[in-house]
Each structure stands twice: as C-alpha cells, then as structure tokens.
Symmetry: C2
Subunit: 138 residues, 2 copies
Amino acid sequence: MANQGKKKFRTSKQRNRMLQLLRATDSHPTADWLYEELKKEFPRLSLGTVYRNLSLLIDMGLVKKIHFGSTFDRFEANTAPHYHLICERCGKIIDFDLPVYEDIIEDAKQRTTFTIHFHRIEFFGTCENCGRASQVNI
Amino acid sequence: MANQGKKKFRTSKQRNRMLQLLRATDSHPTADWLYEELKKEFPRLSLGTVYRNLSLLIDMGLVKKIHFGSTFDRFEANTAPHYHLICERCGKIIDFDLPVYEDIIEDAKQRTTFTIHFHRIEFFGTCENCGRASQVNI
DNA sequence: GTCCGTGCAAAAGCTTTGCAGCCTT
DNA sequence: AAGGCTGCAAAGCTTTTGCACGGAC
C-alpha cells in the first residue's frame, strides 16, 4: 500500500513539523493527537493531510505504525498462551507453539514498575507459499 | 467494555455454533468470515449478532481477540528495534528498552518454514499510576 | 413472565480518497 | 511550468448500538 518508492517527495512545513513532533514525544501518538497538536500551528490543517503524511513518513522509513498487520480484529479460541507467526504478504496468522520464555518475563518484570500480566510475541515474515511467489516478483 | 461478569448468560444456537467454528479452525478468523460461514446455517444472521456474541465469548474467557489494545493506529519515530509496555487500563504505551533476545529469534527460525524478518514483543499490565488507582477500586 | 439474544437498520469511529487550488522544485 | 501537497468534503470500512420481537429459563 501507499507508493512503493516510485514517487518523488517534496518538503512541506506540515510534514516537517509532524516528524519533529513524533521525534520529540515517546507517547506513541494517534493521528488525532498529532492533528490537534499541529492545528495550533496550522489552524487550517486537515486530518486527511495528517494521514497522508504519516503514510509518506512510513514510506520514507522514518516512522513506524504500531498496530498494523490487519485492519480488522481477529479472534481465536485457543486461550492457552502461545505466540504468532504473521505473513506480511498474505496476512495469514499461524499459531506458533514455542516454549513460553519464562525467563524473559522474569527479566522484564525486574526492569519496570509496571505490573505485567502477560506478554505477546509476534514474528513477522513471509510464509512458504508467499516466499515461493516472491521469486516471480509480482 | 462489555459486561464485567455481572450478567447471566443464556445459550443460543448461534453462539454455540460460533464457538464450535472458532475451535475447529486455526485461521484466526475475522468477524466477517464468521458471519459468512454462519450465514449458511442461519440465513437471517446479522453482523451485529456476530459482534455481540464475540464480545460475550470473550467475557466468558472462551475466546481471545488478537489485535486489541487500541482501536486506532499509533505511530512512533523510534525506528530502532525495541519492545513495548502497554497499560491495560489507560492504554498508555511505553518503550521498553530490553536487550533484544537474539536467541529467541534463532530458536524461532529453526522451528518454522516461515522466513522471519522481525519480531515484536508486547508486555501487557498496569502502569504505576493505574496500579495505585486500583486500590480504590473505581 | 422475565429478560437475554436476535435481526434489522442506523449510527459511530477511524481512515481513505476525489477534487480544485497552492506551493515546492 | 510541472506535479506533489493541502484543505475540504464525501465516501469507505469495521464495529457498535437502539429498538421491537422471539426464545431460553
């Protein structure tokens, strides 16, 4: 999605400030938060511009979207702790029966003031099918 | 969100089949997939019912939603690999500067046919603030 | 009989997109 | 001058909710 590096970028005040803002905060902002902040400086700013610029910044590799992977919720009846393998191409999600790394949790608990209840690990990559397909380079 | 265990549940054919379906598949279905599947059996089924039942099943602890945490996307300019601490109460996300567990990745790579590009670990719990607040039991 | 679950439809919430004009190169 | 970027508004998509009726207990 978005443009795969084929387009030329121009600079814009809005996008520059947006990147500055993102770099100055560690609160993992939402698009709306950025919108409200930037509107102080650009009163006519529109949300569309925020989203478009976020998309561009991600294309440029300067920003990451955190909860990507799927635009809609997914559900599972496997309530036992387990990890996930997610294919970046076809979106397939596979249960990954790895041993639960207890020592990681212990390690983590000692390094934060958070009360940790559980953790989640997701591995992103390409599945066998999509891996073969990539040889052809669609 | 939803009812916190205060309500009594009745059974329903729709919900029973939904749980069966979820247990019989490992494809981590979306609400819409469930809707399409169940409509074969319940032609008048509505999407609203699917969502409501998913919510109930989650309350009952029989089903998990995978991509929860935030209903909207979040962005960050910290492109270096790092993990996240997420507060289940206030939704706050904090960068967690843990060492990257290289051995986990190696271990994982050997146990799958996936080509793994990167991984993500999220720790869920309650932050210091919310932890204190919980004493009061809102 | 009570009141939970359902279908239907409308609404809500976040994100994307079409268009005409402005700004960067 | 060319074409990316912007504001505005409308549309899109997933999820939630109000309402009246039917079903479980």
